[in-house]
Amino acid sequence: MNGLSTVFKKEVRENIRDRRALFNSLLLGPLLFPLLFVGLMWFLESAEKERAEKTLELPVIGAEYAPSLIRFLEQQGTVIQPEPENPEELVLSQEVPVVLRIRPEYAEKWKEGLPAPVEVISDPSRQESNAPIRKVKGLLYGYGQQIGALRLQLRGVSPQLASPIMVKDVDLSTPKSRAILAVIFLPYVLMITAFTGATHLAMDTTAGEKERKSLEPLLINPVPRWQIMTGKMITTMVFAMASLALTLVSFRIVLPYLPVGAFGMDLTLGLGTLLNILLIISPVAILAAALLTLLASFAKSYREAQSYMGLVILIPMIPSLIFMANPIKAETWMMGIPLFSQNLLIGEIIRGESVTITWYGLSVGSTLAIGLALAALAANLYNRPKLIFSSS
């Protein structure tokens, strides 16, 4: 085992001196992802706020047909704008989000007590016009309700008869369970970090060594090849873990600056929670290191290895994407699936749910088992002469 620790020490020393390794493993993930997360949250929050607080400016066609509706809208804080020349064009070109058209027959129908036609001209496929559209429709609906109630009352009918059902929202979500975005984002980021943290090392210690032609002389030393490979893999795992730990710490530092109030989240990752998450995610680092080393060993050069890695980095994204599209309830059998179980477990922890030991055990155990199996496979790869020589 001496050979193993010698290889490990040398790889650590060599890679600590490598700016590319340090950048990829220890800086990129830990700095980039938390900043990205915070930036995203700020952006969402400020956009939301801006839309909510903005006064609604509404161009109206045919305002003269419905003076009381116009008065109602103005009372509700809407700024009525004069009739535009070509309303459809205006909406399509995104100059205004929504235009109201009151039909000439409005007054006539109104008097007869029939539904009076108004048109809301908009393009709902534009995300940013959703808020004003909702607002205009809400106002129109409110006005309609109000007038309808008055009419019933005039005829001596209680307006309550027209609302046979009363719908009330009972919101049971705690602030923690509302942290949907974080629940999805954090596991996703951590999963990717485990892979990005391992990528450079996995390539440098195998394909890189082959490319620099230092693999052949290395293998002439009286150390079993599996020890050499294992030493390399352990270095990769350590860097991936360090990358994960740093990312978590940097999230811990950055999260207090989040505009969490607006989202109703409680995201103070305490030390206990951090260690919990690290425990859950560590087997992924081992799995990633083994898988990437295995793949990179087949490459003849760093560049060739890089081309494989582009595909591999998709793997940790899959469970998160499934989860985003179709949030499911965690169940015991799911804990046996690597990457997927970590997603679920971290989600549970952030949501403040208690997680049973069985789930921990299953998740850690299954991921570790697959990781070690891959590692065993990788450890014996260099027994094949074909993989040793980059040319000839």
Partner: protein, 244 residues
């Protein structure tokens, strides 16, 4: 002492080594001479147990590389064709790494490096990172790395490749000193002058086979030629690969 009998190795259709036999004695320098692609590197790779032979027998001080790979690696010092130094480590750290892989103690490695630094004249660059080293400096580090555990048998693949005149002279001087210390040295080369200047015994390899074997004198006598170069061409039967 190396004994090779009837060695075969092919890669798919290509017969890289096709029945090579030779001997390399202690206290002698044996040169494997042959054009590029003759099978020299493959033969050496089988000697240092990186490739298993398809057929044939190898004994190095009585050990068989296919069965006693670890033991043989302990007694061999190899300077392979690919020098492959770690550019982010200093020359000293490169050598230390190999010492540690051979299971040597810190103190033993330290004093051994001090010796090698004098013998190979590496004082100037011993503690510099090997990035940007000249070919000569690289070869010296590669040799020191291979010799750190004081092996009895030394294998060198094209050791003077890319070296300037001064470095080549230093290298030859060092190889002769190994011979005088009783080591068995095998070097492969395609450079005629090198063989003439250094080797006690010459094994001419062409197309995976031994074309001739003997001292320089014997080869000249056998071919009836005046110079080694002419003898070489006559013995391998063509001028192919000589200019490479």
């Amino acid at each position: 002492m190396i004994e090779v009998k009837n060695l075969y190795k092919s890669f798919g259709e290509v017969k890289a080594v096709n029945g090579v036999s030779f001997e390399a004695r202690d206290g002698e320098i044996t040169g494997l001479l042959g054009p590029n692609g003759a099978g020299k590197t493959t033969t050496l790779r089988m000697l240092y147990s990186l490739l298993p032979p398809d057929q044939g027998e190898i004994r190095i001080d009585g050990l068989d590389p296919t069965r006693d790979a670890m033991e043989i690696k302990r007694t061999l010092g190899v300077v392979p064709d690919s020098r492959g130094l770690y550019s982010r480590l200093t020359a000293r750290e490169n050598i230390m790494y190999y010492g540690e892989l051979h299971g040597m103690g810190k103190q033993a490695i330290k004093s051994r490096i001090a010796d090698l630094a004098v013998t190979l004249d590496m004082g100037d660059f011993l503690d510099r990172r090997t990035e940007g080293f000249s070919q000569g400096q690289r070869v010296k580090v590669a040799i020191a790395r291979a010799m750190v555990h004081e092996p009895q048998t030394v294998l060198m693949d094209e050791p003077s490749n890319g070296l300037d005149v001064m470095s080549t002279r230093a290298l030859r001087h060092y190889v002769r000193s190994l011979k005088e210390a009783g080591h068995s040295v095998v070097l492969s080369t395609h450079i005629m002058q090198e063989v003439g200047a250094l080797c006690d015994r010459i094994v001419i390899i062409a197309k995976g086979e031994v074309a001739a074997d003997g001292t320089a004198r014997e080869l000249l006598d056998r071919s009836g030629c005046e110079s080694l170069e002419d003898a070489f061409v006559k013995l391998i039967g063509s001028e192919e690969g000589l200019l490479a």
